[in-house]
Each structure stands twice: as structure tokens, then as C-alpha cells.
């Protein structure tokens, strides 16, 4: 079902015209209200009114995650705080985190995009939606929640964790749809199996998954285990949250990007050069309607390919393939984005510790396992040489990882020689 027939099926030419008009408005607005954009456009010697077509966009400078962090917390907001009704944030210590603000209208836009996404999965007010995305600063939980309410469905705000209770509710409340990370779905299936429950006997008929890379093979496994249709959803918290692009039930090949709200470009991550549509590259997003936290040419770091062929569902919006690669060193573990620099920041902040570490990611069963090896620094050991002191450091590392990044790795203190064997800070053994 198409939630917003008018905009989702707008002929491409009209869609392009709408994009250009909205782009010009966005450029004027950010140029005059956000210091960062004024500076970056001035440096590039370009004025907002000189951008007259989508092709002209390549003249505009990019904004990167580093720029977002440099402007922590509110430096990129385009409206005064009194107009902001919601704040979300990425994980990370101060200066490594990013805060996203929303006006009332931004929340409405986001809710509509999520409503479109849920409708594309065939969901209506007659459905019960089990939402196991984390509620909180992370955009997943509330993003789905507002969309589900918008289509009038009955939403179960489960949030993450507590698998046994999740399974009880899946059995007793009889939801017809589930939303979570693909690995969490597989984890629930494993828990269910251990309890002797056939997940196919549940009332679920469709699942919407996202927030981490997942292959077609995992999708097939989820479909088989639950007896459901597993659909892919894309969203970036920096840009708006979940609901930037959604796989349609009819096409089952790529996710439609809501082009009346975003412009997507594909670039060569090395040169920054714009690639022809359909070539694999880093996705770059520009928001067209966001008020509080507009982004112009945001380098997502996600590598994918655009699908330009028309879709049989009738939507005219371009599609993107699922994201399986990154152009940077970002790691997604259990749906949480982690950068090596964030781990370094945590370790460096601990007195005497050096950022000598290795993070080993693997998949044990359905869930990612995370092992963090941290070198015992000479300073720390020379000062104490005691068990208690080292255990205190271990506790501190674990607490900071949990508090700032939301992950609980298996921690091991290691001798320097162990880390010297390889230069790699991150070892990803998962086969996605």
C-alpha cells in the first residue's frame, strides 16, 4: 500500500523540479542560519542562488561526520532551541558524539516517512506492531513508534533486551509485525527454540529490519525461521533516523529513498567525484525538508548502489541496494555504530592507559560477540604491579564502554607483544 500516493508516485520530472526548489530553499536557509554552512560555502566561493539544478550540487562542499562532531552539541542547529521539541544523539564520549535536534514539523515529517515505510510493508491500522528497537537517544525505537501510531496500528513499545519477556509478548499479544535489528530477530529465534517454541506458530507475517548490515542469506534465514516476509529499512540518525528508504513488498529489490525529502548522490569515496547513478559508491544525502538539523551533502560512509529501473509497486522514487560496506572504519555491532576513534578516546581518558588495543568482532550464534584486548601500559603496571589496581582499570574500561558506547565487550588485558603481531585495531571475523 502506498501511504502518500501523491508524493510517492510523483513523475520523475516533477520530482526533480520539487527537489531543486526545495534544495534552493534549504541552501538559502542554512547559509543564513548556520555558521558552518556560511563558512564552507564562502570558502568554496559559491552562493546559494548559483545552484540551479541537481547537477550543480557537485559544486557544493560536503559535510562529514567529523564536521558534525566538531560542532557538538548544537552548533549545526538551524533554529533556536525554543523551536526544538526533541533531541537524539549518537553514542560516544564528548566530542565524538553527535546530537540531532527536531522541530515539531521534523517529527511530523519523520513520522510520515516511517508511516510510508510501514505501509510499504503492507501494514495498516489493523496490525499489531512489536517494536524491539531501542527506545532512548537512539532514533530506532521512537522513529518506528511514531510511524506505527501514524498509520493507526497498535504498537507494543518493547525496546531491546529481555528476550524471554519479548517471546512471551510475541505469543500472548499476537503481533502481526516485528521491527528490530536482523541479528536480534535471529537471537529471539534461538531463545524461542531453546524454550521449545516454533516461531512460525506466532501471528507474525512481516518483519522490518535495519540498523545493521545484513545479507540476503540472513534475510532468507529469518523468513524461514519465523515464516514471515523480511523487509529492509534504511535510515541514518544524523539525517533523520529510520525511514529514509524502505523496501517495498511488491518489488523485493532495493529500498525506495524518499526523494521528496532527500537528495541522494553516489560518490567515489577517494576523490569525492559524483558517480553516474547505478554505480557503486559512497552515498551522500541532502535533506530537503528538515528544519532543525538540515544537512547538505552529508557523506554517510555507507557504500551502496542506486537502482534506477522503475519499480512495479508504482513508486517513482529511486531505490538503493542494501548497505554491506563502509567507506570508513566504522563498525556496526549489534546495531550500534562504533568508530575506532571513540574507543581510543575512552582509553586515553583513563589515567596511565594508552590507546593500544584491538577489537575483535565475531558472531556467536545470531549475536555479535565483541572482544576488547587492551595493552597494560608500562605506566600503569610500574606504578602498582597489583591485581587490584588492574582489576580497577578493567572495571573502568568496561563501565566507560557501556556508558558511552552502549556495548559490553569481553575485556582482556594483554601483554604488549600480543598486539604487536598485527597492526589492525579492528578484526572483523563476521561473515555478513
Amino acid at each position: 500500500m502506498i501511504y502518500n500516493e501523491e508524493f510517492e508516485t510523483l513523475p520523475r520530472e516533477a520530482l526533480r523540479a520539487l527537489q531543486v526548489k526545495r534544495l534552493q530553499q534549504v541552501l538559502e536557509r542554512v547559509y543564513h542560519s548556520v555558521g558552518f554552512y556560511k563558512k564552507s560555502l564562502d570558502t568554496a566561493k559559491i552562493k546559494p542562488h548559483e545552484i540551479k539544478s541537481i547537477a550543480d550540487m557537485s559544486k557544493l562542499p560536503f559535510i562529514t561526520r567529523q564536521d558534525l562532531q566538531n560542532n557538538y552539541p548544537f552548533g549545526l542547529f538551524a533554529v533556536p532551541m525554543s523551536n526544538i521539541v526533541r533531541l537524539h544523539a549518537s553514542s560516544g564520549t564528548r566530542g565524538r558524539s553527535t546530537v540531532f535536534g527536531y522541530t515539531k514539523r521534523d517529527i511530523d515529517t519523520w513520522s510520515e516517512l516511517m508511516a510510508r515505510s510501514l505501509a510499504a510493508a503492507g501494514l495498516t491500522k489493523n496490525d499489531i506492531i512489536h517494536n524491539a528497537f531501542e527506545y532512548g537517544l537512539f532514533t530506532g525505537g521512537l522513529g518506528f513508534h511514531y510511524g506505527a501510531e501514524k498509520i493507526g496500528a497498535s504498537v507494543i513499545p518493547m525496546s531491546g533486551g529481555n528476550s524471554k519477556r519479548q517471546i512471551m509478548i510475541l505469543q500472548d499479544f499476537g503481533p502481526t509485525a516485528i521491527c528490530c535489528t536482523p541479528s536480534y530477530a535471529l537471537h529471539l529465534a534461538e531463545e524461542g527454540k531453546a524454550l521449545g517454541i516454533d516461531m512460525k506458530s506466532l501471528k507474525l507475517r512481516v518483519g522490518i529490519f535495519g540498523a545493521e548490515p545484513w545479507s540476503k542469506a540472513i534475510s532468507a534465514e529469518i523468513e524461514k525461521t519465523f515464516g514471515i516476509t523480511a523487509l529492509d529499512l534504511f535510515g541514518l540518525s544524523e539525517v533523520i533516523g529510520p525511514g529514509m528508504a524502505m523496501e517495498c513488498l511488491e518489488g523485493r529489490n532495493g529500498m525506495h529513498i524518499y526523494e521528496d525529502h532527500f537528495i541522494v548522490e553516489t560518490i567515489n569515496p577517494q576523490t569525492g567525484e559524483v558517480l553516474p547513478e547505478g554505480e557503486e559508491g559512497e552515498l551522500v544525502f541532502t535533506t530537503l525538508t528538515k528544519e532543525a538539523f538540515p544537512l547538505v551533502r552529508y557523506r554517510s560512509g555507507d557504500v551502496s548502489r542506486l537502482i534506477i529501473e522503475p519499480c512495479r509497486c508504482g513508486r517513482t522514487h529511486i531505490k538503493m541496494e542494501r548497505v554491506l560496506k563502509r567507506s570508513d572504519d566504522m563498525l556496526i555491532v549489534r546495531g550500534i555504530n562504533i568508530f575506532p576513534s571513540q574507543i581510543e578516546a575512552i582509553l586515553t581518558a583513563i589515567e596511565g592507559l594508552e590507546p593500544q588495543y584491538q577489537l575483535i568482532v565475531d558472531r556467536a550464534g545470531a549475536l555479535d560477540s565483541l572482544e576488547l584486548h587492551v595493552e597494560v601500559s608500562d605506566k600503569i603496571f610500574s606504578n602498582s604491579g597489583g591485581v587490584k589496581e588492574l582489576q580497577k582499570i578493567e572495571k573502568r574500561i568496561l563501565k566507560d564502554m557501556k556508558d558511552y558506547l552502549g556495548i559490553a565487550p569481553n575485556l582482556r588485558l594483554v601483554e604488549p607483544s600480543t598486539l604487536k603481531k598485527t597492526d589492525a585495531k579492528i578484526i572483523d571475523k563476521r561473515r555478513i
Partner: protein
């Protein structure tokens, strides 16, 4: 009257301890006594050796994390109640023992107990006052 102990950080992995003992053998370091403190993911090897400075250097050069810790060695007759007599005094004086380990002298007559105290100076004072034999480092290294 204090004794210097060498502590070596060991990761819980096969060959870690062997590597440390090999480095010391190659440098002709004689180990007087030792103990190993273990946790789930790491261990700390505590050693009394004949040449503290040399052991410290060769282990560091081999890439180990090493530290020197001040401990106190007390000699007691190797018979029932030997350790208890010390603990009684320490307890009465509220002196906290972080850890201890022991070995029997070559003669077999006496045991030497190695103590790690929060406040070694005060502990030595109390022990001497109570007529215990505190063994000086130099004597212990040459044992």
C-alpha cells in the same frame, strides 16, 4: 630491612609463563621464591630473585610489563603456629596484609614468609618490636 620483589604481568595464554622463565634463565637469574596471582584474564608473577635490577631490565627488554614492589620477609620456625604468631600481632596492630607467600629455608628449620603490606615501614617496626626476625633484602637475595 625491606625486600624488593619483581612483579611481571602475564596474559592468560599458553607460553606466557614459559617465556618469562626462559628470559630469566638466559640471563642466569636465580629465582629464590615466587608466587602467581591469577584472575580470569591475567596473572601476576611475583618473584624474589638474586639480582633485582638485572631481572627488571631483561624482562622489560623482552617486552614484559614489570614493576618493583617493596615486600617484607619474616623468618619463623617451621612448626605449627609459626604463621599464626605473626598474624596475631599484625591483627592487634591493625596492619593490613595485601598478600603473602612462603618458602622453607634450605636448612629446613625455618620458613620465610613474604608479606605485602600497605604500610611496610610500620609493619617492620611492629614486627621487630615483637621480636620477629625480619630478613633484610641482601640476605634473602643471596640465600
Amino acid at each position: 630491612m625491606k625486600v624488593e620483589q619483581i612483579s611481571v604481568f602475564l596474559e592468560n595464554k599458553p607460553g606466557s609463563l614459559e617465556h618469562a622463565t626462559r628470559v630469566m634463565r638466559d640471563a642466569s637469574i636465580n629465582i629464590r621464591t615466587l608466587s602467581l596471582a591469577e584472575t580470569v584474564d591475567f596473572g601476576i608473577l611475583r618473584l624474589i630473585v638474586n639480582d633485582v635490577e638485572k631481572a627488571n631490565k631483561v624482562l622489560k627488554d623482552a617486552g614484559f610489563r614489570v614493576s618493583k614492589t617493596v615486600v617484607v620477609a619474616v623468618e619463623v620456625p617451621d612448626k605449627p603456629g609459626g604463621l599464626h604468631s605473626i598474624m596475631e600481632v599484625l591483627s592487634k596492630e591493625s596492619i593490613n596484609v595485601e598478600y603473602l607467600y612462603a618458602f622453607v629455608e634450605k636448612s629446613g628449620q625455618n620458613a620465610v614468609i613474604i608479606f605485602r603490606f600497605d604500610a611496610p615501614e610500620k609493619a617492620i617496626e611492629v614486627l621487630m618490636k615483637n621480636k620477629f626476625t625480619v630478613v633484610p633484602g641482601a640476605q634473602l637475595y643471596e640465600f
